[in-house]
């Protein structure tokens, strides 16, 4: 058995390696999004000044905002400021990018949090029940329901929810933005409908992964040994089965983080929610480079942070990784 100091070294090395990989990924991401932004149609000067501005005024605007410089120069200026926390000014709105992205990011995090709180326990519960009732009616109902909901596009689910719960029954508000000054409970109430739409999209997938993990754990030798030792079903389930079966589920949940933070454009539009997905989309449409690039990179940072946290959780739950033998 490894000594404690060697275990700490292994964990530190593991985390350092993950962090370095994340940094390299972010640098690559920044280059890709910068290059992609250059390919977007349109001209920021023309977009802002309108169709009647003279070419001289458009050229002057583009020059003042540095968008006519060589691309490597523009990239370096942007990234060197970004890493110092200076996200620059929105070319379209002439306000600080941080001032625009900050509230949008907070909104996206709120929506993701409510959706996570609903979908993760529900999916794990559904997957576990399906596994425990393997091949019976309950299993079939949960699996088929989950698959069906996942196959329906999210905008269809969202519209159905809006019509039923928002317009016909009038139980919930149809827009996700609560009035300014609303308390936490009111904000959660406004986020319920879009969260239900996200639960519908994600439940099937996460529940299937959870089901597969539980089945594998139930069939494992250590579970049989635990039962033979005389442990209760409840203790076996929570102490042995779930602990091992949740490993793949954690990985799947982490990979959905990027989608939940920055990929909800359709949901944000339908529920008129000022999330970071909408911000990025509008920035791309209007060729607002600074807003677009910073927005995408922030989503990238969050996604990588989520996978890093998932890796840490994974290592805490899996002794083989803690001891370095799974490397």
């Amino acid at each position: 058995m490894a000594r404690p100091c060697r275990r700490r070294t292994d964990i530190a090395r593991f985390l350092l390696k993950r962090f370095a990989l994340a940094l390299i990924t972010l640098v690559l991401l920044s280059m890709i999004v910068f290059a992609a932004a250059q390919l977007l149609p349109g001209d920021i000067g023309r977009n802002v000044l309108g169709p009647f501005a003279s070419p001289a005024d458009v050229t002057k605007f583009n020059h003042e905002h540095g968008v006519d410089r060589p691309v490597y120069e523009q990239y370096w200026t942007w990234i060197s400021h970004f890493v110092r926390g200076d996200l620059g000014m929105s070319l379209q709105y002439d306000v600080s990018v941080g001032g625009l992205l900050g509230p949008s990011l907070v909104n996206s995090l709120k929506l993701a949090a409510v959706a996570f709180v609903l979908v993760v326990p529900l999916s794990i519960l559904g997957g576990t029940i399906a596994a425990l009732r393997r091949n019976r009616v309950t299993d079939r109902v949960i699996t088929i329901t989950g698959l069906s909901l996942t196959s329906i596009p999210e905008f269809v689910t969202a519209i159905v929810l809006i019509v039923i719960f928002g317009l016909v029954l009038k139980w919930l508000p149809v827009s996700a933005t609560a009035p300014p000054g609303s308390n936490a409970l009111t904000q959660i109430k406004y986020l319920l409908l879009p969260s239900f739409a996200l639960v519908a999209v994600l439940f099937g997938y996460i529940a299937r992964i959870a089901r597969a993990g539980v089945i594998e754990a139930i069939d494992a030798d250590y579970t049989r040994t635990a039962f033979l030792k005389g442990l209760s079903t409840r203790r076996v389930l929570f102490r042995h089965v779930l602990r091992n079966s949740l490993l793949p589920t954690i990985a799947v949940v982490a990979t959905q983080t990027g989608y939940l933070i920055g990929g909800l454009l359709v949901i944000e539009k339908l529920f008129n929610y000022n999330g970071i997905g909408q911000r990025i989309y509008v920035a791309a449409t209007n060729k607002d480079f600074t807003l677009l690039q910073s927005g995408v990179l922030i989503v990238g940072v969050i996604y990588l942070a989520a996978t890093l946290i998932a890796d840490i959780l994974y290592s805490l739950l899996n002794p083989r990784i803690r001891l370095g033998s799974a490397e």
């Binding site: 802002v48 070419p55 933005t177």
Partner: protein, 566 residues
């Protein structure tokens, strides 16, 4: 005939009326115009309402009724307005070019005059206006006692500064499209603190429309206004102050206690921006907003028969132009082909499909039925496939050809494009649709090489569809979209006789002369068909039954200073 009113009119003609006003009264007496047209034109020339009423009574018409603004609700409450789409750039009024920007600004802005639904001009920050004999100088008397929300007093200097900014070439204001050739920087003169003179570059009988809410960039601002501060500091004269603004999210307005018009019924206005039609409609139906700034029939059908929703409707001249380049070496260069394409369209069916009853059929010119100068005797073009095929055969195109129609994804335009694509199939034309985002459609240069219209798709595609907003008079569109070398002449159309007639039309004072020139212009356009104009549609908005005293505006502005909530 009311003798007392007649004496008043005669006194006015002897002592005050100039040639323009005299001509107007003569035309009315001779039956050249109906009552509503007289009221409209009289308001443009600055006749007061009491004088207009006297004229109506003097010549045997009914008295001028005070327009009812609808039932009045309670005092208090905040109006929740859904605005779509959001502003695309900053909120400096002289830069307004998109719906979101102008609606946001105009809730807190005022003009010298305000155009009503019937194109009558009402005093706002100007109390009266009067032309000289040939409409080259207009004198405006300003409303006394008006304060900006910043505390400064409103006066002539502020009007001069505002209009100099609008007409300056280096501000890039879209208002230049209206003022070019009419008013130059320095043409607005302070006579005294409450009197301003506009010294025009050319006679313009309809000039007061350019000082009204139809030129939505013309919000009056203090002379010391700093560009870029509109959304940061309340500094207009209107009933509501803009106190909060978040790009892409919304705006907040509070009642201005110092408003010259008294106390607005509403405590304030909360505007929320929407980028999706279904979201804004759901918000209205779900009770989260009270008013939508604009709806279209295609996406808003759920509102039209809903008992809890009221539709506000303003007849206007908003239209779509389908220019066909006349200067390319392709089949469109032949006017017979262009006529044939126009003859494939079933316009009443298009209007019914896209707008139900809320649009007028167009006749391939910009002379909307709404305009008093439109001669209604010009025959309406109808669908005629037999004639279309005959024209194609005469042009040597009996087997058709391929063409690409380029357009933008706005409103019902994609559906119109599909209708045109299906219609021209009947005469053998294989049309490909290229539907771009607004950004891509208006991207590129607008003037200069290769042909003077730069390289932007909307001015250079062989065939396209472009949205054109409402204007109180057709002058700007005629000049910019149809005249030779017009800056927005997407068809690259050039006809010297047409150009001369436009000059005559713009300079004509008497309505019958305007109609005479207009008829000739329409006939030329029907023959040459450089552009198809299939319809002029009404501006539609929707609100809950709580909203009282609100009227839709054909320009799309949201005027809520006199609105209340039940």
């Amino acid at each position: 005939m009311d003798r007392e009113s007649m004496m008043r009119i005669e006194h006015y003609r002897r002592t005050e009326a100039g040639p323009l006003e005299g001509t107007l009264i003569d035309e009315f007496v001779d039956g050249e115009m109906d009552r509503s047209t007289f009221i409209r034109r009289a308001s443009v020339l600055g006749l007061s309402m009491s004088l207009i009423g006297a004229a109506l009574e003097a010549f045997g018409q009914g008295p001028l009724a005070r327009a009812a603004t609808g039932a009045v609700g309670a005092v208090g409450g905040r109006l929740r307005v859904g605005i779509g789409p959001p502003p695309v750039s900053s909120l400096d009024p002289h830069t307004y070019k998109d719906t979101g920007g102008l609606v946001t600004g105009v809730i807190a802005g005022e003009f010298l005059t305000r155009a009503t639904q019937g194109l009558t001009l009402m005093p706002e920050l100007a109390l009266s206006w009067k032309p000289n004999a040939n409409a080259t100088v207009w004198t405006f008397k300003l409303r006394p006692g008006v304060k900006f929300q910043s505390g400064q007093s409103f006066g002539a200097d502020d009007v001069v500064a505002t209009y100099d900014r609008l007409t300056a070439a280096d501000t890039g204001s879209q208002a230049l499209s209206a003022f070019k050739g009419v008013l130059s920087p320095g043409g607005t003169k302070r006579i005294d603190d409450l009197t301003v003179e506009f010294r025009l570059d050319s006679p313009t009988a309809n000039f007061p429309y350019l000082t009204s809410s139809t030129t939505y960039q013309g919000i009056l601002l203090p002379a010391n206004y700093k560009v870029g501060t509109f959304e940061k500091t309340p500094q207009t004269t209107a009933a509501f102050r803009l106190v909060g603004y978040t790009p892409g999210v919304g705006a907040r307005y509070e009642r201005f206690p110092g408003w010259w018009g008294g106390t607005a019924a509403l405590d304030g206005v909360d505007a929320t921006y929407y980028s999706d039609d279904s979201a804004i409609i759901a918000a209205l139906l779900g009770g989260q907003i009270d008013l939508i700034n604009q709806i279209n029939f295609v996406s808003g059908r759920a509102l039209f028969n809903n008992p809890n929703v009221q539709i506000f409707n303003a007849r206007g001249a908003t239209h779509r132009q389908v220019p066909m380049r006349v200067d390319l070496k392709n089949p469109l260069a032949d006017f017979r082909v262009r006529q044939a394409i126009a003859l494939t369209l079933d316009r009443p069916a298009i209007v019914k499909t896209l707008f139900a009853s809320y649009a007028d059929v167009g006749n391939d010119s910009v002379f909307a039925p709404l305009y008093p100068s439109t001669d209604k005797s010009v025959p309406q073009r109808h669908k005629d496939l037999a004639k279309a095929k005959q024209l194609m055969a005469q042009a040597g195109r009996a087997r058709g050809f391929k063409i690409t129609l380029t357009t933008e994804r706005v409103g019902e335009i994609p559906q119109l494009a599909q209708i045109i694509q299906r219609s021209v199939k009947a005469i053998g034309i294989d049309m490909t649709l290229k539907i771009l985002t607004g950004t891509a459609y208006f991207a590129g240069t607008q003037d200069g090489p290769p042909l003077g219209w730069g390289n932007t798709p909307w001015l250079n595609a062989p065939m396209n569809i472009t949205d054109w907003g409402h204007r109180a008079v057709p002058n700007v569109v005629l000049n910019s979209a149809f005249r030779s070398k017009g800056i927005w002449n997407a068809a690259h159309y050039s006809n010297k006789k047409f150009d001369r007639l436009v000059t005559s039309f713009l300079g004509a004072i008497a309505l019958k002369d305007q109609r005479r020139y207009e008829k000739q212009l329409q006939e030329i356009l029907l023959h040459d068909t450089p552009v198809i104009v299939p319809y002029f549609y009404n501006y539609l908005t929707a609100g809950t039954k709580r909203v009282r005293g609100y009227k839709a505006d054909a320009q799309g502005t949201v005027y809520v200073s006199r609105t209340s909530l039940a």
